[in-house]
């Protein structure tokens, strides 16, 4: 089997999914497709099942928060075709009031904890996930700490008060 070029993959994707592929760019030798949220699962399933491409390895997935953006949340997925050694990155943006993606755990069981991690840290929900609960943080935590609005210091701590050192509580900002 010949190694497919990025152009071939992009062409097939655009032909099959047309509008769903919103953007294609290359950054540091890595091709990134920005895709529509609703088409994540169909696109991945196609790339997985295609006899030629065989993107059957999920390298990693994570959430991203971009508060300045019109669509401030994103999921990043990286697929790897081990047969051809081609890596692709997919990004899909969503707005804050529609924080839900389709789960890809049916296709890649490894996505289970990655999606739980994204839920834990960003509050992104995954429709159809078998066990969507916090993974690294305590279960009774009531915020999603990797969002940019949360300062580094834990807001629920009462034993740390830096006001007498001229800094506000937790924010590391200087007081007047």
């Amino acid at each position: 089997m010949t190694k497919p070029t990025i152009e071939q993959i992009a062409e097939v994707l655009k032909e099959k999914f047309g509008q769903a592929v919103l953007n294609q760019e290359v950054q540091y030798d890595f091709t990134i497709f920005t895709i529509d949220k609703a088409s994540i699962l169909p696109i991945f399933r196609f790339l997985y099942e295609d006899e030629h491409f065989q993107f059957r390895f999920l390298t990693t997935a994570c959430g991203i928060h971009l508060p300045e953006n019109e669509q401030p949340f994103a999921m990043m997925y990286q697929l790897h075709s081990l047969v051809h050694n081609v890596r692709l990155r997919f990004k899909s943006y969503t707005s804050a009031n529609d924080l839900q993606y389709d789960t890809i755990t049916d296709l890649f069981p490894a996505a289970n904890w990655m999606e739980r991690e994204a839920f834990d840290f960003y509050g992104i929900r995954f429709k159809g996930h078998p066990n969507l609960k916090r993974i690294l943080n305590v279960e009774d935590m009531d915020y999603h700490p990797m969002r940019k609005e949360y300062p580094l210091e834990d807001l629920t701590r009462y034993d740390k008060d830096d006001t007498m050192f001229g800094r506000d509580k937790a924010g590391f900002k200087k007081l007047n």
């Binding site: 950054q27 540091y28 890595f30 990134i32 059957r56 390895f57 999920l58 390298t59 990693t60 994570c62 991203i64 928060h65 990043m76 990286q78 081990l82 050694n85 890596r87 990155r89 890649f108 069981p109 490894a110 289970n112 904890w113 990655m114 991690e117 840290f121 993974i135 690294l136 943080n137 305590v138 700490p145 990797m146 580094l152």
Partner: protein, 403 residues
């Protein structure tokens, strides 16, 4: 292949719950598994992780690039130099720094040394968990020798913080070279003796063969990487697939297993140590042949701190020092992914830079976190004692699991 004991679920049967962990002496780290037991056989398990979660991804968003290296130390602390190098290379990729060959070969030496240290611990701990304590004490001397080399090079042993963005903080000294060469001479003997103790040992074989097996398909679907995937029979090694730090200049083989059980994982790690010894030997030879005898860092003054004497006596060096420390240097915007073959598999760094002194987003692709998901399935229907062995042979490191 011997058949695994199967469990038939009966209606009125009562199972007992067993809390394995969080701080169980047999699990080498803080993991909790609530097991549902049918006598001695595990029916189901519920893993809980996050006991040593330290929010590295969040902290990294508030630290300049060079201060993130100590965070990476604490991921897989059995082979922290590989993590350090992986992070340095990620930033070097972002700023498009070119490194001299000598530095890349020196990095290869460090990375392979720490791979040996990592695999020595894992393999000897498999011995401990199957009741063979001797081998463990025997090879720990060699891990100590490797740590002495790290100490000679960077001053630290476990959480090394070795190297800098752009190279090393200083050249390897005479003692370091002598210790490396001595290790190359003596380690094969020790490895041989270690293997004599375990590899064809009947008790060890009976204990580990067909213990916690995983098929290649399952391993791939759970995104296994590293020795655990190779033990299942897939020859995926980033050092050959996407060579970094001049790994393409070296000749080495990727050992693979067939069954994906504890014994195969042990054997794959064992062979990898031999390959690492050969890579280090090649690297030392290559460095000796190089024209360049002195360079130990790339020429990137705006990222690599100048020597202290220059900072006090040279205006330009002082300016660079100030700019680096105060975070005044411009970093390109963009996103970069770099992965290295860590002790446990593909250790990836996904870095989004917005041009500031800190990453906008840094995500660690931690191999442990990803493959530990399969543990539940791997121990289903196994004996409790096999579950312990399976975990130690997967080399689940709590620091990397929880980040």
């Amino acid at each position: 292949m011997q058949e695994q004991p199967t469990v038939k679920k009966e209606e009125k049967k009562q199972y007992s719950k067993l809390n394995l962990g969080p701080t169980h002496p047999a699990t080498h780290g803080i993991f909790q598994n609530v097991l549902t037991m049918d006598g001695e056989i595990i029916v189901d398990s519920e893993p809980t992780i996050g006991y040593i979660h330290r929010a590295f991804e969040k902290i990294a968003e508030h630290k300049p690039f060079y201060q993130i290296t100590p965070l990476t130390d604490r991921l897989n602390y059995c082979s922290s130099p590989i993590n350090n190098m992986g992070w340095h290379m990620t930033v070097e990729k972002l700023i498009k720094a070119e490194l001299p060959k000598r530095v890349e070969y020196m990095r290869v030496i460090i990375m392979e040394l720490s791979r040996i240290a990592d695999h020595l611990i894992c393999n000897s701990v498999i011995g401990v968990d199957s009741g063979a304590l001797t081998a463990y004490f025997y090879v720990f001397e060699w891990r100590e020798n490797i740590y002495e080399i790290f100490e000679e090079i960077c001053g630290a042993r476990l959480t090394t913080h070795i190297g800098r963005i752009g190279g090393f903080e200083r050249d390897f000294n005479e003692t370091a070279w002598r210790k490396i060469k001595n290790l190359l001479k003596e380690l094969p003997k020790a490895l041989k003796e270690f293997e004599n103790l375990l590899v064809r040992n009947r008790i060890f074989m009976d204990r580990t063969i067909n213990c916690g097996p995983i098929s290649a398909e399952k391993a791939l679907s759970y995104s296994f990487t590293g020795p655990n995937l190779r033990a299942a029979g897939v020859d995926y090694d980033i050092r050959q697939m996407n060579p970094y730090s001049s790994y393409q200049d070296f000749e080495f083989e990727i050992p693979i297993g067939t069954q994906g059980d504890t014994y195969d994982r042990f054997m794959v790690r064992e062979e990898e140590m031999w390959q690492s010894v050969s890579i280090i030997r090649q690297a030392v030879e290559k460095i000796e042949k190089l024209q360049d005898k002195t360079s130990f860092h790339a020429d990137i003054p705006s990222f690599y701190l100048p020597p202290k004497e220059d900072v006090y006596n040279n205006m330009e060096a002082l300016i660079y020092h100030f700019k680096i420390v105060m975070g005044e240097t411009d970093v390109p915007k963009g996103e970069v992914y770099h992965s290295v073959e860590g002790g446990n598999g593909e250790l990836g760094f996904y870095l989004i830079s917005d041009g500031g002194r800190q990453p906008f987003r840094l995500h660690f692709r931690r191999p442990c976190f990803i493959y530990y998901q399969a543990y539940r399935e791997m121990i289903k229907g196994a004996f409790l004692s096999d579950a312990i062995l399976t975990m130690s042979s997967m080399n689940v490191i709590a620091g990397e699991l929880d980040a």
